[in-house]
Symmetry: C2
Subunit: 180 residues, 2 copies
């Protein structure tokens, strides 16, 4: 039986917003999937530069692709990761998972690249990481030779940076405490 709850009193009102059905209890916004040309380079970037952890890899050799599931974990979460099949189930219960899809062979094609969604035709725009200290994060990205789409000092929005991952996907960088 379905029933609904009003949206919480502190949430934002806007045209279109509906009450929350109890049928959605336990729904979790789990992951976002991006296709990547060369998983070795992407994994180096997302683990080495953004500090993520690989929680699951699913190989589909008959269909010619592999899937990689990553999360940016806290120290406590890293110390308490379950093992084996439980880790895969854990991964699908989390929020904030990044799934990378590798279609075999793209890494060997010189003229191959994926579409970032910001050139035409537009759709998807970016993913975003919030950081404790924007200036320190910018220095870290510079130290790692990361490409910037927008440095904090560029344009009107001084509290926001955009870097690019190895496929050119845009990654917004914000300091949560400055976003109030």
């Amino acid at each position: 039986m379905s029933s609904t709850n009003e949206q919480p009193k502190n949430s934002i009102q806007a045209d279109g917003v509906q009450p929350i059905s109890t049928q959605t209890n336990g729904f979790t916004f789990n992951h976002t999937m991006l296709r990547v040309k060369d998983p070795k380079k992407s994994l180096a970037f997302y683990t080495g530069v953004l500090g993520m952890t690989l929680l699951e890899r699913k190989k589909f050799p008959d269909m010619g692709f592999d899937l990689y599931f990553l999360a940016k974990l806290t120290d406590e979460e890293r110390d308490n990761l379950p093992a084996g099949e439980d880790l895969a189930i854990y991964a699908f219960r989390q929020r904030g998972i990044l799934e990378l899809t590798h279609n075999y062979g793209t890494e060997d094609k010189d003229d191959f690249s994926y579409h970032d969604g910001n050139a035409e035709p537009q759709g998807f725009g970016h993913i975003c990481f919030s950081v404790p200290d924007l200036d320190a994060a910018v220095k870290w990205f510079d130290d790692n030779n990361v490409t910037f789409k927008k440095r904090p000092e560029d344009g009107n929005m001084k509290n926001i940076a955009f870097i690019k991952d190895v496929d050119g996907y845009w990654i917004e960088i914000v300091q949560a405490g400055l976003m109030g």
Copy 2:
């Protein structure tokens, strides 16, 4: 000063994976941004059908766009939402936020649509919600006349469904407990 920690022992090994630098402490995979044609319809879908809550709206009338930030919260989280500016800061500290961008006027253009990333040129693929009970979720989506890209019984992967949001973006639906 930078230092690194080995990836946790239960995480997955793969070519390219790097140790985790302490410079990434506190980094949080916060949100994914999708452009939407008509925010009223998108908000109805993401709140009414997927049970999300609108945490922040940023209006940029001079630049002709608005931003909406949504999360699928637990009952406990909904009961404890901070108010005012603290809610915006809260939103940027979470994982699993969906940002919807509305460029003014698209909702009035009959022939306008966004690119889903799965037709050519490819890049972004989908977002995913995990659910406690896949069969119950499918029934809920049917009751709400949601369009399916793939029902669970279609194709080889019986544990996975794909629905489409009102712009045609693909949303994978999985039952976490079946993914081990």
